[in-house]
């Protein structure tokens, strides 16, 4: 257990179970516990004092509560900053949300900054992995403390929330596309106008949308998420008892999916853009890492050989991606490699994409330690706070990318406008995330303050 370098006077008030009065030396853990059970009033006094009465005393003095406070939270957004949560998770999920927003604005020059232009994997991999990690982190503890039934019910409730969010986004999308369908006409594009055909048959399309079979462009991530969450309770049960078996089953499902071509059918044609039977492997791998897998792998993750391999693979991926933009370079890629490598399939989470993500993750864990002081700083706060409310911010990002494109079409599509829309969108995402934090604070669901001091690191790994 790490000691907080800045001792704090911590006071817990207004909790239904009472207050604590206890002198302590493990300030960090108490501060953390306090942040879950009431309001913290930090100061620079030594030693830290916690006043407590009632049954809260029992809760706080149980070491399990101190080191692993119960988190009332959710998968996509963990509204309890300051726990023994690895802030790197929030940071990189926040960054992934920004990248997804930028990638969803078409013809945007700022897109060139996003990682998909420099390798095989993109923000989706980061997002799915971290979501698996945090799902296991939150609900794994819930399952241990509250039982399988309660934890399973909470996971399904979360899946329902994501479903509602998806339908809400679909409504916004339909409103936008209906407007464009009625306001735009150009003989040059009479073929492209075919995308409005679905508006002619609302009876079928709306039902198909609610069944998650009809999914407009850029609205494929949440349905993947819903399916992953819906299947998570039995998997988590197994992960807690036999992690290796659960991970093995997941990899087996992935392999069988690739072999037999399993996927969920979509409407009006084809299959899901993100095949849940394939992408589950990344989600389960994240969950497995959170429940001790990363600790087991820490020797491998931190070994210099692994780092060298990762750097080599990233360089290889960068070169291959360059050949896509500069066809003459393609002559340098041997035929056998092309035959083996292409196509790099996003739908089924191509192994090349998975390895690219792993390489990025390994290097990130090396370069960004979990006690990196900057994680607490105001400079990274914008990304961290977005990552802490990821369901809301993800939905907002999809909406904002529609809105940004709409503004570019209606007003101006110049480079200046593209940059302005990108920055404005991110600013709105950050402001909204901060507002959500503030709301949760005043509703007593989490501290008003910014994320508290770091607690014990989760494990050696884990992005």
């Amino acid at each position: 257990m790490k000691r907080n370098p800045r001792p704090q006077n911590v006071e817990i008030v207004g909790h239904p179970l009472g207050t604590v009065n206890k002198v302590c030396r493990t300030e960090a853990t108490l501060t953390r516990a306090a942040s879950y059970y009431g309001r913290i009033v930090p100061s620079r006094l030594v030693p830290c004092v916690i006043k407590a009465t009632g049954s809260l005393v029992n809760q706080l003095t149980r070491s399990r509560v101190f080191s692993v406070p119960s988190v009332e939270g959710s998968v996509m957004s963990l509204p309890k900053p300051g726990g023994n949560r690895d802030l790197r998770l929030d940071l990189f999920r926040g960054l992934a949300l920004w990248l997804i927003f930028l990638d969803h604005i078409p013809s945007n020059i700022v897109n060139w900054l996003t990682i998909r232009n420099y390798g095989f994997s993109d923000a989706t991999e980061i997002f799915v992995f971290i979501s698996g990690y945090t799902a296991a982190f939150v609900y794994g503890r819930a399952m241990r403390e509250q039982g399988t039934l309660v934890a399973g019910a909470r996971i399904l409730k979360r899946a329902w929330q994501v479903y509602v969010a998806h339908i809400f986004l679909f409504a916004i999308y339909t409103a936008e596309i209906s407007y464009v369908a009625h306001s735009f006409e150009n003989p040059l594009y009479h073929e492209e106008m075919g995308i409005f055909d679905f508006l002619q048959q609302p009876d079928i399309t709306l039902a198909q949308a609610m069944l998650l079979k009809f999914k407009p462009a850029n609205m494929d991530v949440l349905p993947l998420y819903i399916v992953l969450l819906a299947g998570f309770p039995p998997l988590l049960w197994l992960l807690l008892r036999a992690p290796a078996v659960a991970l093995g089953a997941s990899v087996l499902l992935y392999v069988l999916t690739l072999y037999f071509g399993w996927n969920i059918p979509a409407y009006p044609n084809g299959t899901w853009v993100f095949n849940p039977f394939a992408w589950q492997m990344l989600f389960v791998f994240g969950a497995w890492c959170a429940l001790g897998g990363a600790k087991q792998l820490s020797a491998v993750i931190l070994s210099p050989i692994t780092a060298a391999v990762a750097v080599g693979y990233l360089a290889f991926a960068l070169f291959i991606v360059l050949t896509w933009y500069m066809p003459p370079l393609n002559a340098l890629v041997p035929q056998w490699l092309e035959d083996w490598m292409y196509p790099i399939d996003k739908t089924n989470l191509d192994v090349l994409r998975f390895l690219h993500f792993l390489s990025l993750a390994v290097l990130t864990v090396r370069l960004v330690p979990s006690d990196w002081p900057l994680l607490q700083s105001r400079w990274l706060f914008p990304a961290v706070v977005c990552g802490q409310h990821s369901l809301e911010i993800f939905c907002l990002g999809v909406f904002l990318s529609f809105a940004a494109h709409f503004a570019m079409v209606e007003i101006n599509q110049g480079v200046g406008m593209q940059i302005a829309m990108s920055l404005l969108g991110i600013a709105i995402m950050v402001a909204t995330a901060a507002l959500i934090s503030w709301y949760k604070g005043i509703e007593g669901r989490s501290p008003r303050s910014r994320p508290g001091p770091p607690g014990a690191t989760l494990v050696g790994g884990g992005v």
């Binding site: 306001s183 006409e185 003989p187 040059l188 594009y189 066809p327 196509p343």
Partner: protein, 249 residues
């Protein structure tokens, strides 16, 4: 690559200058050069008879106010006749709205048997994107199509989607464009990147592709320029092909 670019630009500056419009759109299109040769086209030109089949969907058709076809295949034919004096050039369009790549691929043997073209220009992708066809199925259709075209002693030029800024956020074409690029690279087939060309036109302000209109004025000029650029690609591709080579690649 450089000499080809220069050759294309030289060809443009001499031939297109006599076209009815300025070559503003040609310049703004940037570098449009074939990455691979078109040996069957070269052979056909040597025999003074060049038959081209355009296989496509709705964006390969455009009817003007008088009902006459003013789509790019018409302009392609006119430009090729000018660039290749003495060669009997005939362009036939097999376009059908909403048709996917695999439906077109199924029609290929019949077209080749009936018309025996030296070149098939295959415009596809938009209908697949609208109908949500699995990109892998799309890719396989293109790949099989290359086999069928080459088995009929013809070359293939792929043409990808139009750049359509209004519908860009609603119609996800990237997976299909990537699939087409992969097949083109892997099979040494020429890709006519209509998407990039039209985007450059929009960015440089040559054409306002955002504007709503009921008339065909912009559409006609866009198709005119596409046809001329395509003709240049066909001619440059024929020059790029090894003259002495026999059979398909």
């Amino acid at each position: 690559m450089r000499p080809i670019v220069v050759a294309v630009l030289c060809a443009l500056s001499t031939s297109v200058a006599v076209a009815k419009e300025g070559n503003e759109c040609i310049v703004a299109a940037g570098t449009v050069a074939p990455d691979f040769g078109l040996p069957n086209v070269a052979r056909a030109i040597a025999k003074d008879k060049l038959d081209i089949a355009v296989l496509g969907s709705a964006s390969s058709e455009l009817n003007g106010p008088a009902g006459t076809n003013i789509a790019y295949p018409t302009w392609l034919e006119a430009t090729l006749r000018r660039l290749l004096p003495g060669v009997a050039v005939k362009v036939t369009t097999y376009a059908r709205a909403r048709e996917t790549a695999s439906e077109m691929e199924a029609k290929l043997p019949r077209i080749i048997a009936e018309f025996a073209p030296a070149l098939v220009i295959w415009q596809t992708g938009t209908a697949d994107a609208i109908r949500g066809v699995d990109p892998e199925e799309f890719r396989v259709a293109l790949d099989d199509g290359v086999d069928k075209v080459r088995a009929g002693d013809a070359d293939v030029v792929f043409m990808n989607m139009q750049y359509s800024p209004r519908t860009e956020a609603m119609l996800a074409v990237a997976a299909y464009a990537d699939a087409m690029r992969f097949v083109a690279l892997k099979r040494d087939a020429v890709l006519f990147d209509r998407f990039t060309i039209m985007r450059r036109w929009n960015e440089s302000g040559v054409f306002d592709l955002y504007g709503a209109t009921r008339t065909t004025n912009v559409a006609e000029r866009v198709h005119d320029c596409l046809g001329r650029l395509l003709a240049d690609v066909v001619v440059a591709g024929a020059k790029l092909a090894p003259v002495a080579s026999k059979g398909t690649e």
